[in-house]
Amino acid sequence: MINFESFTLSNGLKVVVHEDKSTPMAVLNVIYNVGAKDENPNKTGFAHLFEHLMFGGSINIPEYDEPLQKAGGENNAFTTNDLTNYYCQLPAENIETAFWLESDRMLSLAFGKKSLEVQRKVVCEEFKEHYINKPYGDVWHKMRELAYTTHPYKWMTIGASLKHVEDATLEDVKNFFFKHYTPCNAIVVVAGNITLEQVKALSEKWFGPIPAGEKYERNLPQEPKQTAPRKQEIKANVPLDALYKCWHIYPRLDDRYYVADLITEIMSGGGSSRLYQSLVKEKQLFSNIECYHLGSTDVGLLTIEGKLVKGVKMEDAEAAINEEIIKLQQGISDKELAKVKNKTESMMAFEDMSVMNRATSLAMYELLGDANLINTELEKYRAVTAEQLIEESKIIFDENNSNTLYYYSNN
């Protein structure tokens, strides 16, 4: 059980407090309700580029990192298609430094020209490092375009192209900030060796005076139901053929999300999982195979991907995956269901060990609408039945819901 309290400032900023006296540290986590899905299709990659600019100085503080490091702190941030999250950890005595820094950049950035120029280059190098200069690096670029016709999940967080990042202007940066980086679009979590009273006082002092701003009303085009299978072939300079298949699954808050999550565990959650045992060990068609999903807030994708053993035909590899899917649709034993539920329970226990993870989880859950999901989600997993798994696997793995990439080696 993870205890927490929460309150809301008059400008709409929600604050969640989690006390843990066993650590000398404190964490301040700020989540903004904006991700790559909120971008203009002609200016993609912006939410992430913006995350970099948040470290380029704010209205009253020229440098973000320096004072934090001076206070013995560390920080980082990440952007997804759904959200942008910033966190810092520092000795609890110095928690006010974190309030000072985070509130000033919520108030306003410095909008320096140099920062934009440099970070555009840095993000382009990040783009190259992860998506161009790596074998199979363009897979998700292609897969998103194939699987989403309408929803903005069709582009990657890093951006649809280097060009979009290179073309970003200071005007774009300002507009983005004042639209999304407002108290009513943010959630603050403070965790560690602090008290509720202390956090209340510090929040009022530092975040209280920030103007509420306008609430951003999200109105995204939703993905229509897929009605026919989609396939694409790619040839590239990679050493091995690879197969990628994706199916649409339910949004994060749908009860069937938990069913889909357990399906991925059954299929590839370890050395005794079905795909690994059957296709890597017994049939030796793949040298590795994985089944996973990305935990997207809106309609997500369940993915099976693997690299084929040299000499294996793509059609045979795909047929073998389909066989495993059919087996899943026929049933699952009590023992196997208990196994994946137990795994989920222990995975959660391990994740909750660090105060930093607890802070980020609380923020993500609160963004979904209820921080207490951190305590109640396990029950939702526990409640999943074998019948539901069979039923949902029939719906998810419908051929008409499938998107397949055949990634062939040129060599």
Partner: protein, 425 residues
């Protein structure tokens, strides 16, 4: 309220850092157990560390393969059954093979340890190294390797280690696909017998310890023919390459170069080592470092650039590592040398030095959060033949080092002519 004024901070260097002491037990066979009892969650981690790393193999690849196949079948359980047993209880049983040591670890909810430990015991006493499992392992390792070899960063990391230590030294050796065909399951069984079944072992356990933890460990591991591990030094001398500068083309379509700039460096027992950790942080060891500030935050040549001392027990290396745009690789290297020059010639100002000190102490404080992390510190000390004095002396070194001492160290160690230099595109 004036937001330009920094709130009062307590300098992290005023904090008193404490490394929670371990409890020590000795099993019936003499194997030592080091234990940390801490944490709120009912989770435990036990690590069995064997003197079974690459250093002890006579045929390249045998140590790593033996370790990897420990979960692939015993005389009573198949690989599938072993995995299923751990996964049913939500446990993680991992293996890892390093230069001096090889590890088998188990993390799980404490309530399941009683049914899990006997299976760990089975793995380390009764693994059978079946032919089919070996064949599949070889095939998949080769496939993974051929993908990795298309990545410039992977190739660069292998090559720089080979220049710094020589390909015959465990720190410099790397595996090629054909190496995996030069040994058989008989070699694996022999290695297993010598270095696991009848090996040297030390055990680390951490988490919210149950009252019967000693009995549990003694029942499972105390009667085995293991002996207490002793501190290991390498038997092979390092062999530095004579040529210092390398430019290698790995991928004609590459858009970035993986840069490695490195020099040999003594191990933790050298008197300069503690102070070097401070200089390294300043130079390239944290986000605000000289290298990051200049090469990422000012020039935008790279997504990240870091320097670090490689974590080896024996004589080691100081490494600068980055991936930079292909067209700015040479400019990046030039800037790295300029930063070395600045550190050799100019005194770091007090404010920057104080920042680095506070940052380092704050990081240590943060790293000691949780039982596994505390045990991790201890493990690193004990396996390096050090004790808590080393920890407290390091903390003291951070708190007391002066700008003059930093400059002296830079003069001694940051000379470009001592560094190997490699770019792989």
């Amino acid at each position: 309220m004036d937001r330009s004024i920094t709130p009062l901070i307590k300098d992290a260097i005023e904090f008193e850092l404490k490394l929670k002491p371990y409890q020590q037990f000795t099993l019936a066979n003499g194997v030592n157990v080091f234990a940390i009892d801490a944490g709120a969650q009912d989770v435990l981690q036990v690590e069995l560390v064997f003197n079974a790393g690459n250093n002890f193999e006579k045929i390249k690849g045998v140590a790593g393969t033996t370790n990897a196949l420990l979960k692939n079948g015993t005389s009573t359980k198949t690989a599938f059954q072993l995995n299923e047993h751990f996964e049913y209880y939500g446990a993680y049983c991992n293996r890892g093979c390093y230069n001096e040591t090889a590890v088998v670890s188990l993390s799980a909810l404490a309530k399941h340890f009683e049914v899990l430990l006997p299976v760990v015991k089975e793995m380390i006493t009764d693994s059978i190294f079946n032919e089919d499992e070996f064949t599949i392992y070889k095939q998949n390792t080769k496939q993974r390797l051929c993908v990795s070899l298309t990545k410039s960063d992977f190739v660069a990391s292998r090559l720089i280690d080979a220049y710094l230590f020589g390909e015959n030294h465990p720190y410099g050796a790397y595996i090629n696909a054909e190496d995996l065909d030069k040994f058989t399951t008989a070699d694996l069984k022999n290695y297993f017998n010598e270095f696991y079944v009848n090996g040297n072992c030390v055990i680390f356990v951490s988490g919210k310890l149950p009252d019967n933890i000693f009995e549990l460990l003694n029942d499972n591991f105390g009667k085995l023919s293991l002996t207490a591990a002793n501190y290991q030094t390498l038997s092979i001398e390092r062999e530095l390459a004579t040529e210092k500068k390398y430019r290698i083309q790995n991928d004609v379509n590459g858009v970035q170069g993986s840069i490695r700039i490195a020099r040999e460096f003594p191990n933790r027992h050298h008197p300069d080592f503690m102070n070097i950790m401070v200089l390294n942080t300043l130079f390239g060891g944290y986000f605000g470092s000289r290298l990051m500030s200049n090469i990422r935050e000012d020039k935008g040549y790279t997504y990240g650039i870091h320097s670090y001392i490689q974590n080896h027990i024996g004589s080691t290396a100081w490494m600068i590592s980055t991936d930079a745009g292909k067209e700015v690789c040479e400019a990046t290297i030039e800037e790295v040398y300029k930063e070395m020059q600045l550190l050799r010639e100019e005194l770091v100002d007090e404010e920057e030095l104080m920042l680095v000190k506070n940052y380092l102490i704050g990081t240590i404080l943060g790293d000691l959060d949780g039982p596994f992390q505390i045990m991790g510190r201890w493990k690193n000390l004990l396996l390096n033949n050090l004790d808590e004095n080393y920890f407290y002396q390091s903390v003291n070194a951070i708190k007391t080092i002066t700008a003059e001492e930093i400059r002296e160290l830079a003069k001694k160690y940051l000379n470009p002519s001592d560094f190997y230099e490699l770019v792989v595109v």
